[in-house]
């Protein structure tokens, strides 16, 4: 299964393909840890939705359906532009990569802006845990709202980290460090960004689409 490494090669690896596979293995292991890191929140969501279906339905009702849907579209588009960027750098198209990463970053910022407006709206409705909570709301509704802020908040933190990494990618690209041969940082960041998008793909139905029975 592992290619025979010529004994005299100084690099810690055999050939370049060996290093690429190692990078992928490492990144996918990291994504597995992220799955379980968000998993704790999904567990809490499942347990409390089974325990308080009515409160969760009411909670989902307080969220803005259209902005949620729009945000999902924004994030899916940013995944497309990131994937295109990755395809471009593999062909050495550095300017095209810069445009794609810039597009992805701006879509990310747009997502966070929409998210911030949703948070502001929740603040206006006194539905922010920790602050004086809307007395009319049933206690388990506060549970839903806490989970809403925890899940989307953690997701937003991952988006911010993504934006920081994209700035780093752009600087690397500017200094010519990203070429057709050496494009691992773009590919690895792509995996991270697509994963963060996948988290939102699950958050959207679970938080926004609970039917009012």
């Amino acid at each position: 299964m592992n290619t025979a490494t010529p004994p005299s090669l100084p690099a810690a690896y055999g050939d370049e393909r060996q290093r690429d596979v190692a990078n992928h293995l490492g990144m996918w292991t990291f994504i597995a840890t992220e799955v379980l890191f968000f998993g704790g929140l999904f567990l809490a969501y499942v347990v409390y939705r089974v325990a308080y279906p009515a409160a969760f339905a009411a909670g989902s009702h307080t969220l803005n359906f259209w902005r949620g849907t729009l945000n999902t579209a924004v994030l899916l588009t940013s995944s497309l532009t990131m994937a295109m960027g990755d395809a471009y750098i593999k062909r050495g198209r550095r300017t095209a990569l810069r445009n794609c990463v810039a597009a992805t970053a701006s879509l990310g910022v747009l997502f966070l802006a929409i998210k911030a407006s949703e948070y502001q709206e929740m603040y206006a409705k006194h539905l922010v845990p920790g602050l004086p909570f809307d007395p009319a709301a049933s206690p388990p509704l506060q549970l839903f709202v806490f989970l809403y802020f925890a899940m989307t908040g953690l997701h937003a933190v991952h988006m911010l980290i993504g934006l920081g990494l994209m700035a780093w990618l752009l600087r690397l690209n500017q200094r010519g460090r990203l070429t057709a041969a050496h494009h691992a940082p773009v590919e690895m960041f792509g995996l991270y960004w697509h994963f963060v998008d996948c988290v939102w793909v699950f958050l959207y139905p679970l938080l926004y689409l609970i039917p009012q029975r």
């Binding site: 596979v21 992928h24 293995l25 996918w28 292991t29 994504i31 597995a32 840890t33 992220e34 799955v35 379980l36 998993g39 999904f42 567990l43 499942v46 347990v47 089974v50 325990a51 359906f65 849907t69 999902t72 579209a73 899916l76 588009t77 995944s79 497309l80 990131m82 994937a83 295109m84 395809a87 471009y88 593999k90 062909r91 095209a96 445009n99 792509g190 995996l191 697509h194 994963f195 998008d197 996948c198 793909v201 699950f202 959207y204 139905p205 679970l206 689409l209 609970i210 039917p211 029975r213």
Partner: protein, 95 residues
Amino acid sequence: MNAEDPAFRPLFATYAALIVLLALTAAATALPTGWWSTPIGLAVAVAKASLIFVVFMRLRSQSPLVRTFALVGFFFLAIMIALTLADYVTRLVPV
């Protein structure tokens, strides 16, 4: 950005599929699906996530080892949820 390059066609096709699926879920809320809407929503979410995993994250062209690494996290998450629910769901059942 020449879009008709062979490498880009699957990307656009996937993106289109994702947007259609999103529209599907959004529209489904209007239908009186009642209890069924959550499973449908999750099924569509799984479909979207798999599309992103396979195409955008290029799992398609990875070795089986990398594919296993990609799925192992979900397997243990399923164990955590299933066994914790085994406690919560059976709490009220008298011995």
